[in-house]
């Protein structure tokens, strides 16, 4: 299998195109012949991270790197930052406003959903500067 990498730019509050980057990423993985169960995990985690950027920040970017061993996704945003990451990892904890909830998001499941689908997840955040979510999904079975 060949390798691939690239980047998608995300615009905050652009709900019309929210999810388009994850959708394109899914298409790339399908074209590369990645197993569908892996594609589902990557797409769900990427979509949650993409929605977080759209909901909370002004802008951001999603970069991906696919090798025969693993898929690595990095979503970096220019948002308010997460003051307490441990709290944000809790299912149901959310700071989303009502209009986001009316769209079906902001229920406090974003980061927990990413964690559930990823093999490795790291979240780095600085108040006032932004958040970087990076996750890896292994392609070769773990020993």
């Amino acid at each position: 299998m060949s390798s691939s990498e690239g980047v998608f730019f995300l615009t905050g509050k652009d709900f019309k195109n929210a999810g388009a980057a994850s959708s394109s990423l899914k298409g790339i993985l399908e074209d590369m012949g990645i197993p569908s169960s892996i594609i589902r995990r990557v797409s769900i985690a990427a979509f949650e991270a993409e929605m977080n950027t759209i909901i909370y920040s002004v802008a951001g970017m999603m970069s991906y790197s696919i090798t025969p061993e693993m898929i690595k996704i990095r979503v970096q945003d220019m948002g308010p930052g997460i003051p307490d990451i441990e709290l944000a990892m809790k299912e149901g904890y959310s700071t989303a406003p009502d209009y986001i909830r009316e769209m079906g998001f902001g229920s406090g499941m974003g980061l927990p959903n990413i964690k559930k689908n990823a093999d490795v997840l790291t979240v780095n955040s600085l108040a006032g500067e932004g958040t970087t979510v990076e996750f890896t999904i292994n392609l070769s079975p773990a020993e």
Partner: protein, 98 residues
């Protein structure tokens, strides 16, 4: 539609769909925006039923068309829709049997 579906998930919270639905299931929802189609796409949902006469807008319909996800609608409530489909043999994504 020439499509067989055995499992269904119902929710208005798309994060719940992403967390708890399974591949090739049916989504029953009262939400009609484009995020429903994006959610269905990444969660590999086979078809969507909109309840209580809720109609998606043209952007939602065209995105579903592009992603080849059939959209269905009913006048029934969420509870009645689920009850009726359960009675006809559809089961949940949880794997629980009754």
């Amino acid at each position: 539609m020439g499509m067989e579906i055995e499992r269904a998930y119902c929710a208005d919270l798309m994060s719940d769909v992403l967390a708890f639905s399974i591949s090739n299931s049916l989504l029953i929802t009262g939400l009609t925006n484009t995020q429903v189609i994006r959610t269905a796409e990444v969660a590999t949902i086979k078809a969507i039923v909109f309840i209580q006469n809720k109609r998606p807008d043209i952007q939602t319909i065209s995105l579903a068309d592009e992603k080849k996800i059939p959209l269905l609608g009913t006048a029934l409530s969420m509870f009645d829709t689920c009850g009726l489909l359960f009675e006809k043999g559809l089961r949940s994504c949880s794997g629980l049997e009754f």
